[in-house]
């Protein structure tokens, strides 16, 4: 640094560098037409790309759906899910949604909580002031104050002008017919989610998913669900059952009408029942659907199954002789007859006199394994699953020996749901087609798709013996003239503390109308009917379940479009006549 020469030598390249930089900067601002063309294009490209980015972003924002609003709409709708209407087979409304309003609060936005509490309780007097004060004191963003208020209350709350209080439109489920078809419809909770019956089934169809995606805003967006129920028939059935229950001072009654050719349940009532508008009642154990959830030993109505099995196996003919002269002994057990005839009888006689001995002998004749296989084929040993979520597993004996076969033959020792037994009896009389009962409207005859479980001749034999029972046997009291009714009664002693109780009976009656070409199966169940003076002290099925069914048939047949016939049909049972069956010749 002290040497000037050194300094000079050091400085020279530096000067050169500065000069070159200076000329480069100067040339940057020099406009030279031959060299600037490329630059202009470059700058132009820069601007173009910037504007292109801005433009595409604008288009993108414009096309993008407004997410915030969609989320809001979705949360609003899912609070009370929209449900499809439920209508009966003729389109009459059974359940529908109506709009109501609920009031909510956003505690963080309420300024004076005490004042808000005071004013709100003045409008809604059924609110507990302390509870409300506690609710508003929370740090939540959202609390319900009251669900489903009236329009007048809404108006009054709106007039209070409280900040942080809002209204939420909701769908409320209404069952305008009250108790009618309660067990089939089921109920919904306050959030409009099905908790029982068809309502729960509807949710299972994927409605919950549809709702959560926010697709269904209006009830009109969803097609109504048509049930197989006929409201008028349903009401008539319930009314007659109610009268019967009062008359015989029974604990419970239940009734069922099935279209045997389609498997549709036209009416189902189980008393005591509940009003679906008050869902709490639906959970009362006394209000269960006795036909689907209760399992019972069906008693003599099961003899229809045994008779069909015996005839279908080919081991018995319609005129086969069965010795019922003395009680049947098995070990220390003795099987006797209630209406003891003490003679040799043919199959129709066994059926109309409801002989336990004869039926047990038929079952023994076909054997334990065949009996078991037949009942399984008829769906009596497995849980019956219909659209209704409520169902019950039959109580099947663990070890099934000869004694079990003997007792099950006449309906003891195997407890099934009455709906299940009705399904089997429908199959016995409709030509042998087994169909799962359905609560949804079906289009026409379903027999073509159904599985055949017995031969058509056996089916005719069953219709024949049931009709015979309607003219000569225990079902005579229920046979309404003109409808060609056939049926089978059943009286089972209830098991109380492990023993059969002689005085506590469960009586059943199954009737087919008309017997020559059945269209409907009527089932009536009476739980613990009492003997009355006019029944001469009897409490068996022929005296209570039978006459109730008769009244139901008389009242309901015109509603179902069944015309009464004045002359008995010619040749109703051609095969039976050809086989010269007992009782076919007057």
């Amino acid at each position: 640094m002290s040497n000037p020469r050194d300094l000079n030598e050091e400085n020279r390249p530096h000067d050169d560098f500065l000069r070159r930089c200076g000329s480069a900067i100067a040339s940057l601002f020099k406009m030279r037409i031959d060299k600037s063309g490329g630059r202009i294009i470059f700058v132009g490209l820069c601007f173009f790309s910037i504007y292109a980015i801005i433009g595409t972003r604008l288009v993108y924002l414009g096309l993008k759906p407004n997410e915030g609003q969609a989320v809001r709409a979705h949360t609003q709708e899912s609070i009370a899910a929209v449900r499809p209407d439920i209508v009966d087979r003729n389109g009459v409304v059974l359940a529908t949604d109506v709009k109501t309003v609920s009031v909510f609060a956003e505690p963080r936005r309420i300024i004076d909580k005490d004042e808000a509490t005071e004013l709100l309780t003045a409008v809604l007097p059924d609110l507990n002031a302390n509870e409300l004060r506690e609710k508003l004191g929370r740090k939540n963003g959202f609390v319900w104050i009251k669900r489903e208020i009236t329009p007048k209350q809404q108006q009054e709350i709106h007039r209070l002008g409280l900040p942080g209080i809002g209204f939420q439109p909701e769908h409320k489920r209404i069952y305008p017919n009250g108790v009618a078809a309660a067990h089939i419809l089921g109920a919904v909770n306050i959030d409009n989610i099905g908790i029982a019956g068809i309502e729960k089934y509807i949710d299972g169809l994927g409605l919950a998913e549809i709702n959560s995606l926010g697709f269904a805003r209006q009830p009109s967006d969803i097609k109504p669900i048509a049930l197989s129920i006929d409201l008028n028939v349903q009401h008539a059935l319930r009314d007659e059952l109610f009268k019967g229950m009062e008359k015989f001072k029974a604990k419970a009654t239940a009734g069922l009408i099935i279209d045997v050719n389609t498997g549709e349940v036209v009416a189902l009532a189980s008393l005591p029942d509940f009003n679906p508008n008050n869902p709490v009642d639906a959970l009362d154990p006394n209000h269960i659907n006795r036909l689907a959830v209760g399992v019972y030993e069906m008693g003599s109505t099961f003899k229809a199954l045994t008779t069909a099995m015996a005839l279908d196996s080919g081991k018995f003919k319609i005129n086969s002789q069965l010795d019922a002269r003395s009680a049947l002994r098995y070990g220390r057990f003795k099987i006797g007859d209630y209406h003891a005839q003490n003679r040799v009888m043919t199959v129709p006689e066994v059926f109309i006199h409801s002989s336990n001995i004869g039926t047990a002998k038929m079952a023994l004749g076909v054997g334990v394994e065949h009996h078991k296989a037949f009942l399984r084929k008829m769906g009596q040993l497995d849980r019956l699953r219909t659209e209704l979520p409520e169902n019950a597993e039959p109580i099947v004996p663990g070890r099934w020996g000869e004694l079990n076969t003997m007792t099950i033959a006449f309906g003891h020792g195997l407890a099934v749901a009455p709906l299940q037994a009705s399904m089997a009896v429908s199959a016995l009389v409709n030509g042998g087609y087994l169909m799962t009962p359905s609560f949804l409207k079906q289009d026409g005859d379903r027999r073509a798709q159904a599985t055949r479980v017995i031969k058509p001749e056996t089916s005719e034999a069953l219709r024949y013996v049931m009709r015979l029972n309607g003219t000569k046997g225990s079902a005579a009291k229920s046979a309404v003239p003109g409808y060609f009714v056939g049926g089978k009664t059943g009286t089972a002693e209830k098991v109380i503390a492990g023993r059969y109780a002689k005085t506590r009976l469960l009586t059943t009656f199954m009737a087919i109308v008309p017997s020559d070409k059945p269209r409907y199966l009527f089932v009536t169940l009476v739980d613990e009917p009492q003997a009355l003076p006019e029944t001469y002290g009897f409490a068996t099925a022929g005296w209570n379940a039978g006459p109730i069914t008769g009244k139901v048939i008389e009242r309901v047949a015109p509603l179902l479009g069944l015309p009464p016939r004045f002359d008995p049909p010619e040749q109703p049972f051609p095969v039976m006549a050809k086989m010269n069956a007992w009782g076919s010749k007057p």
């Binding site: 009459v92 409304v93 529908t96 949604d97 109506v98 709009k99 209404i174 305008p176 017919n177 009250g178 108790v179 009618a180 209006q218 009830p219 009109s220 409201l231 008028n232 349903q234 009401h235 008539a236 009314d239 309404v480 003239p481 003109g482 409808y483 008389e554 009242r555 047949a557 015109p558 015309p563 009464p564 004045f566």
Partner: protein, 132 residues
């Protein structure tokens, strides 16, 4: 010429701006109308739904039955009330009811005679005259 073209283009510009303005505000107006109409439709649908529920509530079978039992003499249809057409007895010949009534009133003439009343009238008068 140039100035004229300029004026025309300015006028065209203002015109198109006005047109665009009108289209824009019309669109806003109509979309508001559509939204209002949609709201009204929803409200109407809700009202229809509520009315349907109410109609069914008032027509529910057990209510109808209670009303029928307390206000009318109607009874459920019994089998005995259904008869075949051929069982309906032929109507009895009840005779000429109107003619009988006229006879009872004392006028013996047939209906055709009544038409000719002016001619027939003097007759009874004559008899009356003869009697005293």
């Amino acid at each position: 010429m140039n100035r004229f073209l300029t004026l025309v283009s300015i006028a065209a510009l203002i015109g198109s701006a006005l047109f665009a303005y009108r289209v824009k505000y019309d669109t806003i107006y109509f979309s508001e109308q559509v939204a209002k109409m949609k709201n009204r439709i929803v409200r109407e649908q809700d009202a229809i739904n509520t009315l349907r529920a109410e109609w069914q509530f008032l027509n529910r079978p057990d209510r109808v039955q209670t009303l029928t039992e307390s206000h009318t003499d109607l009874v459920p249809l019994a089998v005995q009330r259904i008869v075949r057409w051929q069982d309906v007895p032929a109507r009895k010949d009840q005779g000429d009811a109107i003619g009988a009534k006229i006879e009872a009133l004392g006028a013996i003439e047939t209906t055709s005679a009544i038409v000719k009343k002016p001619d027939a009238k003097p007759q009874p008068k004559k008899t009356q005259e003869k009697q005293p």
